[in-house]
Amino acid sequence: MKSGNLLMLLLCILFSLHGNAGQYNATFDSANAAYLKKNYEKAIRLYELITADNQQSPELYFNLGNAYYQNGDIAAAILNYERAKRLDPGDEDIQVNLKLANQKTEDKIEPAPEMFLTELQNKLVQLMNERTWSILCIISLSIGLLLIAVFIAAKTNALKKAGFYGGVAFIGLTLVTFFIARVSYSSARRHQEAIITTAAVTVLGSPSESSTKLFILHKGSKVLITEESSDWIEVRIANGNVGWIKKDLVERI
């Protein structure tokens, strides 16, 4: 009964994907063709057609980023590269292009040193996407439990030992991967990171037009949204500076 339900669910997901996939793939291919002909504006328009349908894939965001880059809109390129990276953090092409695009922004922000654990966590989160971490979590749980079963059923001492330590290690790995997947999931869902899309933004000391001006950010810089009110957000930049800006000056990743 249970496995029957699961199968139905999987089939449903596959069918729903397949139903529109053809149409999106056709749009994607014609956008690629436009890009090849250096008709970047057309390519952007076609790629954005797919994103407008709330569809995403690392390839789509990567190509869209490239089209914006070639068209000279570095901020939009960075935004889409970041989105592609969120979906596929291990892809080298995405990292290279994001780095190149970041070199073209006006703000050169020195990242503040972070605590070892925070840095490790960030690095792990950025290693793979939330889906991969989740699948790893399930796999390591399965292996862990299998090894524990071996421990219980084993007749010889060596096998028992191997089963026990292996099982404990994999259960530990399950916890770690679950934690990372959860962090990755929550950051992806809350869209905490954003890119400045306005030419120059004055960051203020408090959410009010008349407050102290702290510093100026330019188009393409990445910020972390740490707090939110109705039309203001509190942002933190890589060097640790924090301030308030209007919500509509940034685009969330």
């Binding site: 699961l6 669910l9 999987l10 997901i13 994907l17 529109n20 996939a21 999106y24 793939n25 994607f28 690629n32 890009y35 797919i50 994103t51 709330n54 569809q55 995403q56 894939s57 690392p58 390839e59 789509l60 990567f62 190509n63 490239n66 089209a67 880059y69 070639q70 092409d93 290279v96 292009n97 190149l100 695009a101 939330e130 889906r131 971490w133 989740s134 699948i135 979590c137 399930i138 749980l141 399965s142 439990l145 299998l146 524990i148 079963a149 219980i152 059923a153 997947a181 959860r182 990755s184 999931y185 992806a188 869902r189």
Partner: protein
């Protein structure tokens, strides 16, 4: 010259005759800085005495008074003139009135006009004029006020030029007096300009300006090339010159008067007028991509020494630019040599001329060494410049150069000996983003997340369920196995008892063979069932080991083994068997009871 002066004096004297007697006050400047010396002259065309000047105390008298008087007789009419000159300076800032002066002419008092002097702040250079103060009759800064005898004029050939366009400034001195010495004391400084001096003609010519004849000579010619846009002011040129002038003092020495006396050497400081040049930016439209600032009119030639060489042989690429303009400021051309070529900075030779404007030729010698065989191409070079006369950019191309490089003679030997040097680092020619991905993507909804989805929790739940199932099934199996053992154990005594009953019947019937078999079977069956040993493993050694493990005493084990031995011996050789059947029977019953107690 002298004649002209005398004539002039005669004319003025004659003119004076016609006028009534009059006292005039004249200042060389009416606007001065504090401390700046200037000259005040009171002149009377006639005879008078007792000159009094009002308000002179407010000024400091540097020199003077110098008297000068002259008497002229023309056609029997005697006319006299008299003048008194002071060199004075203002003590403080403000507006002051000097004079009027009064003089007694034959009993009547004649009053002069009053002078109003505007005194400004002291300027730094006001004191520098002190050396020439004594005879500084000219106004140095005003260029060429009427009546001056000597001045410099700076003449630019144009006042509106493009950046980088050349203009020439000719400095000429105009004089009506004899110049004994002429020293340029200050050259015009030209910020933001490239300056080169040109040749001047040595010849003296005469020119007429406002009806006055001057002797002129070229002092200096500068070619100026502005390097920035906007208004550029060319500072005045300053010169010290010593001229010979008729003395104001009447010489008492008769010889002086006879031998050119009455003249004195006077030092003058003269200045040209500053010139303002308007510098226009080069037009931005149609500016060629390779334009690097050359302005003028040039021709361009490029050639290579050979186009068929062996690897590691040097080739010379010579580029010659000839023409008029700022040839010194021409930068080497940007040449896209094939990446594999070794190239060196060019050797630059230039040859400039200043005849009729700046010009000349500039040669760039490039040494290039192809390091590997193959066919290479140097794209055609272009040289662009701006022609200010046509007001347009001109681009001159050179032909393309195809270079065929053959394998060098020592290439192989070099390769084996200098192998590490032959390795080249990968040359990065440019940075570009990676190309788009063309594989077919799998699209998913943007709001879809695997983590936290039902599928994810099912995935987590499934192994856990599997594990629980494993534990449950295993437990049940253990339970069941446990039951089988218990049953066999429980039945062990029962079975043994049955066998013993049969043995007892055989005993009574004195059926020896059957008796021993039953006793043996009872013991084996009991041990097998009680200890859960399969019949295949039912050897004496195994039984001993298991019993020892169960902590059964050595005596009991030995007793059991000897009984089994006796039974087996009796079974196979019934006649040889000894011992009482009843004893064996009793012993067996006792043994089973002991085992029952000792196996825990």
């Amino acid at each position: 010259m002298k004649k002209a002066i005398i004539l002039f004096l005669l004319i003025t004297s004659f003119a004076n005759q016609l006028l009534a007697q009059k006292l005039t006050a004249q200042a060389s400047k009416t606007t001065v800085a504090v401390g700046e010396p200037f000259q005040v002259t009171f002149s009377l065309n006639g005879n008078g005495n007792d000159l009094k000047i009002a308000h002179l105390n407010e000024f400091e008298i540097y020199q003077g008074p110098y008297n000068s008087s002259s008497t002229t007789v023309v056609n029997g009419v005697v006319s006299q003139s008299f003048s008194l000159t002071y060199v004075i300076g203002a003590k403080k800032e403000g507006k002051f009135t000097l004079g009027p002066a009064t003089v007694n002419v034959g009993g009547t008092i004649i009053q002069s006009n009053a002078l109003t002097i505007d005194v400004g702040k002291a300027t730094a250079n006001s004191n520098s004029n002190n050396a020439g103060r004594q005879n500084n009759a000219q106004n140095p800064s005003a260029g060429r006020p009427a009546g001056n005898n000597i001045f410099i004029e700076a003449k630019p050939n144009k006042t509106k030029v493009y950046v980088g366009e050349e203009l020439s400034v000719l400095y000429k001195v105009y004089t009506k007096v004899d110049i004994l010495q002429f020293i340029i004391s200050k050259m015009p400084s030209l910020d933001g300009c490239f300056v080169q001096d040109g040749k001047t003609s040595q010849a003296q010519t005469s020119e007429t300006i406002d009806g006055e004849n001057f002797v002129t000579g070229e002092v200096k010619k500068s070619y100026v090339i502005p390097q920035r846009t906007g208004k550029i002011v060319i500072d005045p040129m300053e010169a010290d010159c010593i001229i010979r002038q008729q003395s104001n003092k009447r010489s008492r020495d008769i010889f002086d008067q006879l031998f050119g006396g009455g003249y004195e050497e006077v030092k003058y400081k003269i200045k040209s007028r500053p010139i303002t040049i308007e510098v226009l930016p080069l037009p931005a439209t149609d500016k060629p991509a390779d334009f690097s600032g050359a302005v003028g009119n040039y021709s361009f030639k490029a050639s290579i020494s050979k186009d068929n060489v062996k690897a590691n042989e040097a080739i010379n690429l010579t580029i010659t630019i000839t023409g008029k303009g700022n040839i010194k400021l021409i930068d080497p051309l940007k040449i896209n040599f094939p990446e594999d070529f070794e190239t060196y900075d060019p050797k630059i030779t230039q040859n400039t001329t200043t005849n009729d404007g700046l010009g000349g030729s500039k040669t760039f010698d490039y040494l290039i060494i192809p390091r590997h065989e193959g066919n290479y191409k140097i794209d055609h070079l272009t040289f662009s410049f701006f022609d200010p006369e046509k007001k347009e950019y001109v681009t001159l191309p050179s032909p393309e150069f195809n270079i065929h490089v053959e394998k060098g003679e020592h290439a192989d030997a070099g390769a084996s000996v200098y192998a590490p040097q032959n390795k080249e680092e990968l040359k990065v020619l440019g940075d570009d983003i990676r190309y788009i991905k063309t594989n077919t993507p799998v699209f998913s909804s943007a709001d879809e997340h695997f983590f936290g989805s039902i599928l994810f929790y099912l995935g987590l739940l499934l192994p856990v369920l599997g594990f629980i199932a494993f534990i449950v099934i295993r437990k049940r199996n253990i339970e069941m196995n446990k039951d089988v053992v218990a049953v066999r154990e429980r039945k062990a005594t029962q079975m043994a008892r049955k066998r013993l009953t049969v043995a007892e019947q055989n005993l009574k019937a004195n059926n020896k063979e059957q008796f021993y078999m039953e006793i043996s079977q009872a013991l084996y069956g009991y041990v097998s069932n009680k200890l859960n040993i399969s019949s295949a493993n039912l050897t004496k050694e195994h039984i001993t080991a298991v019993l020892k493990q169960k902590k059964v005493s050595e005596d009991t084990i030995a007793n059991l083994l000897s009984t089994i031995d006796t039974c087996e011996y009796a079974r196979y050789a019934p006649n040889a068997a000894s011992g009482d059947l009843q004893t064996i029977y009793n012993n067996t019953v006792e043994l089973i009871t002991t085992l029952e107690n000792e196996i825990r």
